[in-house]
Amino acid sequence: MTAKAPLRLALTSALALATGLPAAAQELNALIWCDHADPALLEPFEAAHGVKVNVKEYEGTAAGLAILDQSQPGDWDVMVIDGVDVGRAVDLGLLAPLPADQLPTADFFPALVMPENNSRDGVTYAVTEKFGYNTIAYDKSKVDPADMADMAMLTSGKYDGRIAIYDYYLPVLGLVGLSQGVATADLGAEALAGLKDPLMKLKAASKLVGDVVSSQTALATGEVDVLVGGGEWLTAVLAAENPNLDWTIPAQGGLRWSQSIAVLAGSTQPDLALEFVKYITGPEGQARLATSSCYWGMPANAKAGDVLTPEQKAVLRWDEQPDFIARSQLYPVPDAALDTAMQDLWTEMLQN
């Protein structure tokens, strides 16, 4: 054997290996919220279609739109977006029309089809995939559950230093608005000015302002007993470890969040992107998304109930949804100027 023989052998083996492998897998690029990053959600789709789903998490529509601004058309195939912001994305020409007849919306909870959000002039641009509530979560072994039915109790002095605020301005400002009798749909610049004092009062009664993980940890470890802005999405993953964690919609009402999924207008593989949307909104994808490791939430597709276990449905309070839906309002939908004003107020609250 000459000195070059081992090298030749290695190259030949590598070539044989390379040709024996399947062609490079197709990739789908998804701009998502953290619940879609769960491998248990993505793997069935990847296996069924022989593709790799690349995900990038973002938080807040402004950040998501900024990412799209910095990207080339075609960089992203699908996007998860706050239900109330679908219209903004449509206005910007970012979303591709979806074939409504191929989407399983007939199986959805009727209130969650939300054509007013997901469609424009009869054309569907997005589809609701998950929903839940931003309201009051608490440890029922530490607080009087009856107090949690009235938001005024939070700033009465009884729970000072035992409250955490979820660090997301839209739902919490919406909740503070509801506590002042301002419906989320009426939350404009003038109404916002009136929320400064109650917001600062709430902050003064609170111990911390935390993101999902921080507020969840604070509630789970007993650092705080109440979380303003919490809900099933935060307590459900802890239910097995701490059954005392509970949530309620107070008399003043709560906020209902919903997230939608859409195909981006510049996608170079719209068919695959549509398949992903159909998987996510189908019963199996919905059940997996509802119980994602990042956070739980109600599936928009009622047929996911056939896939979820009775225990999972109990944690999600499946049977109580009609009442919850009736007593909750959608997120405020600020225009750019109001959004800036809201974020300024939120930053001021954090800094005080």
Binding site: Y58, E59, G60, A62, A63, L65, A66, D69, L92, G161, D167, K207, L208, V209, G210, D211, S214, T217, T221, G222, E223, A336, T340, Q343, D344, T347, E348, L350, Q351
Partner: protein
């Protein structure tokens, strides 16, 4: 071509890769960031400048100005406390711990570096929390009637930072101390200096390079960290890096994020200039 010209050309070729690297990965991105900081947002569009509005807003908006102030206060406090705690620790390891145990002592000193900022901060939550180890011990021993409120305060942020940076400073000061000949102390004693005078006029000045190097590293790492104030401080006061993250992650305001980053770099540069001047580094 003369020999001088050939040597000059060879030197230029040798330096070229470093210059190209620096230009590509520092000067150009830095220039882009300055350009971006002088732009402004109109809706979601970035409008090219020059527009100094972002810098003006940093110093006129109370929330942003307070962020700079918070960062400076926390960083200076952490640096001073860490130096005060690290110096005696380094001295004990270098002078009092037998040589064969010094390696183990140093290993213990660097243990905190083995975990990430996030894990370390959450670990501190379990120690300092209402139901944490510290409060359980204090109430169990009857030293406190009720659990102390430590988490979500500036004290918790300082504690988390100091725990980490004491170890960093211990290493840099130890490296300095271990090189000091014992003859310095003997010579001082021969000249009639007492223990404190020897420390004050001989040992301490000789360890200042280690102290200042560690202090500068502490300053840079502390002022740029947003995780510890967020987790341990309960997000109750915002620092500069937290404000930068807010601009990027929530507002999508890249020009303001760039302006705040330039300000952060300016503060670090000033700290470096002060350190260099203190150590007279230009003479080194």
């Amino acid at each position: 071509m003369t020999i001088e010209a050939q040597e000059s050309r060879r030197a230029a070729l040798l330096v070229a890769p470093a210059l190209i690297w620096t230009a590509a990965f520092f000067i150009l991105p830095f220039g882009a960031m300055i350009w971006l900081s002088l732009s402004s947002m109109q809706g979601r569009a970035i409008m090219p400048g020059p527009d100094f509005g972002n810098y003006i807003r940093i110093f006129t908006d109370p929330s942003l100005r307070q962020g700079l102030w918070n960062s400076l206060q926390i960083t200076l406090a952490v640096t001073v406390i860490s130096v005060v705690l690290a110096w005696p620790l380094a001295w004990i390891i270098a002078m009092r711990v037998p040589a064969r145990w010094q390696r183990l002592a140093l290993l213990l000193a660097v243990l905190p570096f083995w975990t990430s900022y996030v894990v370390r901060s959450y670990a501190w939550l379990l120690v300092l929390g209402q139901n944490g180890v510290l409060n359980k011990a204090l109430t169990g021993l009857g030293l406190a009637a009720a659990p102390l409120e430590i988490v979500a305060t500036r004290g918790a942020t300082l504690g988390g930072f100091v725990h980490f940076f004491v170890m960093l400073l211990t290493l840099t000061i130890y490296a300095n101390l271990i090189q000091l000949s014992s003859n310095y102390a003997r010579a001082a004693a021969d000249l009639g200096a007492g223990t404190f005078a020897t420390f004050r006029h001989v040992i301490l000045p000789l360890t200042l390079p280690g102290v200042m190097t560690g202090a500068f590293l502490t300053f840079v790492l502390c002022i740029g960290d947003y995780i510890t104030p967020q987790i341990l401080g309960g997000n109750n006061e915002l620092t500069l890096p937290q404000l930068i993250m807010l601009q990027l992650g929530r507002r999508g305001d890249f020009p303001m994020a760039s302006a705040l980053s330039i300000l952060l770099m300016a503060v670090v540069t000033l700290a470096y200039a002060a350190c260099a001047r203190w150590l007279r580094m230009e003479r080194l």
